[in-house]
Symmetry: C2
Subunit: 338 residues, 2 copies
DNA sequence: CTGTTAGCGCGTTCAT
DNA sequence: ATGAACGCGCTAACAG
């Protein structure tokens, strides 16, 4: 590919002059600019951003490391992040860890090597090693969606506990006392926070620990199907199911349909995460909706502030917790109190 | 961040020795290796891949430029591409053009600047300018999903025409003669190819041009809703709707539900693109399923062959057309021939 | 307004 | 088995 030197030669100037024309820095005589521009066009010159980044000590790239772009929740977050990044003139790289700490480590290493200017991370596990490394390397990092066991980074997330609490209360108010909660891995704070909210609501309603029905699995369709099967075999069968993420909710609905159990007539179902309008035909599920897009935007802006030095590095880490919102639809039945 | 020189200094060796240890090239005495490794660990040294790429003249990065990661079809393609890329030791960058030629141009420019080793492109428009530029810059490029008006690049796509033909025949065999086709932009070959397949089937059934009912819009929910509304106002109303992509199909189902038109009792519906199992509760729609994941894998492998020089550059451009498959479900009703 | 020099961090080439 | 010099492509700092 053409280099700046070849352009300079053709235009009869020094490379630095070409550089100045391209980057619109410094003063250039109009005539010179035109000579350079025509040389650039003639050769189809495209500046090498590797070299530029090497000199400038910044790459203009951010990275979003998440667990699964296949999940509409994450694609929405990603769109928010991308929009915010590109509004600030940054490019965004997406990486999927599939909840694997090994993949996470491998991607982060690659991102460090690429000298991305900042990282948005949805931590695959409670493991803090990667985050410590980012700190050590002084790579700005914002944690997304999940809490850390220790306060080692800024964090933007939604209020899982409050959402789960509200959803559980809604069920309790409708008379449900046998509520099964199907959640993700105990390693993931959104999974456990939703358990906390559920638990809190049960306690307040005067139900003690032995009334809790909690299944831990993973935030996937397969795990949801498996847990749903187990719920259906319980005697007495719970009168309501609380699915702690969108894939589990869809799995529950699928399993119930296969088993010929009607919603909400035979059993009530509520879920966490709404689906985008483009992906549902007949929205039936009462859910807690998280501001996914906004979370992506906010986290990105927080990251950008860190790298433009608008925040004082000596400040304590910030944590932004976004409120969630109940969207009531028609998957909850009023039941007699048992 | 630490540089190779600081590591070298701490280890008491020359930078090049550190380089050799890191890249496992050349001979190194065990003792030296250990000194270097401990220095690397102590400083948390992470090699700068910008510099490496600059020297090696390759970046180990591929890019997939597509129209919309929000669409499950594309996320599936992306997963295929990512898996294939990472199996070969490459990283994959994702870019969304939203069908905008301007965004496409801007992203491609950035990718050229970043010196990605190769590009997978879903062209936003029939415009060939960007592809010519890639040729001029000698950046290996494979076109995905859509045909080019001129043969200027290798291409991997699915057989839209055959799929549309089969789907239309299925409707014709069930007795439908008033079939509305709701498709994307006339600028997009998958949209027009599906019209061709539809048209061909009608012709074969002895129906002439004035029996064609074709709406051109975009492959989005909004456009689908708008077109569906128009179909519902037609008199006589078509007995079947053929939605030429997944979002249009979902829009049609939504619109029909709102209008209280039952599927398939009142009207039959077929679609292009299946949804992943994780996103549907009760798969109802008879569709043409495209091998999205496989398309991503194949295109990536074709690209990789080009850059490892396994293909003769003098060869003509390849075009791989993947077969599609009808998945019959329950959205088509047998109707009396009008 | 334009050019020269030097160096970003690394690895190839050629010595030793 | 290890190192010195040079250059990848670009631009900051300093001259002129």
């Amino acid at each position: 590919m053409t280099t700046i030197r070849e352009v300079a030669k053709l235009a009869g100037v020094a490379p630095i002059t070409v550089s100045r024309v391209i980057n619109h820095t410094g003063y250039i005589r109009d005539e010179t600019r035109q000579k350079v521009e025509s040389a650039v066009n003639q050769l189809g010159y495209v500046p090498n951003s590797l070299s530029q980044s090497l000199r400038w000590k910044q790459t203009g790239m951010l990275a979003l490391v998440l667990t699964d772009v296949t999940n509409p929740f994450w694609t929405t977050v990603a769109r928010g992040a991308e929009d915010a990044a590109s509004a600030a003139g940054y490019h965004l790289i997406l990486c999927n860890t599939d909840e694997s700490p090994e993949k996470q480590e491998s991607y982060l290493k690659a991102l460090f090597q690429k000298r991305v200017d900042g990282i948005l991370l949805v931590p695959a596990r409670a493991d803090l090693k990667d985050i410590r490394q980012a700190r050590k390397l002084r790579v700005p990092l914002v944690v997304l969606d999940r809490r850390l066991t220790e306060s080692l980074a800024d964090c933007v997330r939604c209020d899982s506990e409050a959402g789960a609490y509200q959803l559980t209360r809604l069920l309790l108010e409708r008379g449900h006392r046998n509520i099964a909660l199907l959640t993700g891995s105990p390693q993931v704070t959104t999974a456990t926070d939703r358990v906390s909210g559920y638990r809190k609501a049960l306690r307040e309603a005067g139900l003690n620990t032995n009334r809790e029905i909690v299944f831990y699995g993973a935030f996937t369709l397969e795990s949801g199907l498996e847990m749903a099967r187990q719920v259906l075999e319980m005697k007495p069968r719970p009168t309501a199911i609380f699915a702690a993420n969108n894939f589990i909710a869809l799995a529950v609905l699928q399993a119930l349909r296969v088993a010929n159990v009607r919603v909400p007539d035979d059993i009530s179902v509520v879920g966490f995460d709404d689906l985008p309008a483009s992906l549902q035909v007949d929205p039936v599920l009462t859910v807690v909706a998280q501001p996914a897009y906004q979370m992506g935007v906010l986290a990105t802006n927080m990251l950008l502030k860190k790298l433009t030095g608008e925040t004082d590095p000596s400040d304590a880490y910030q944590e932004v917790v976004l409120p969630v919102e109940i969207v009531e639809r028609k998957s909850v039945q009023v039941t007699r109190i048992a």
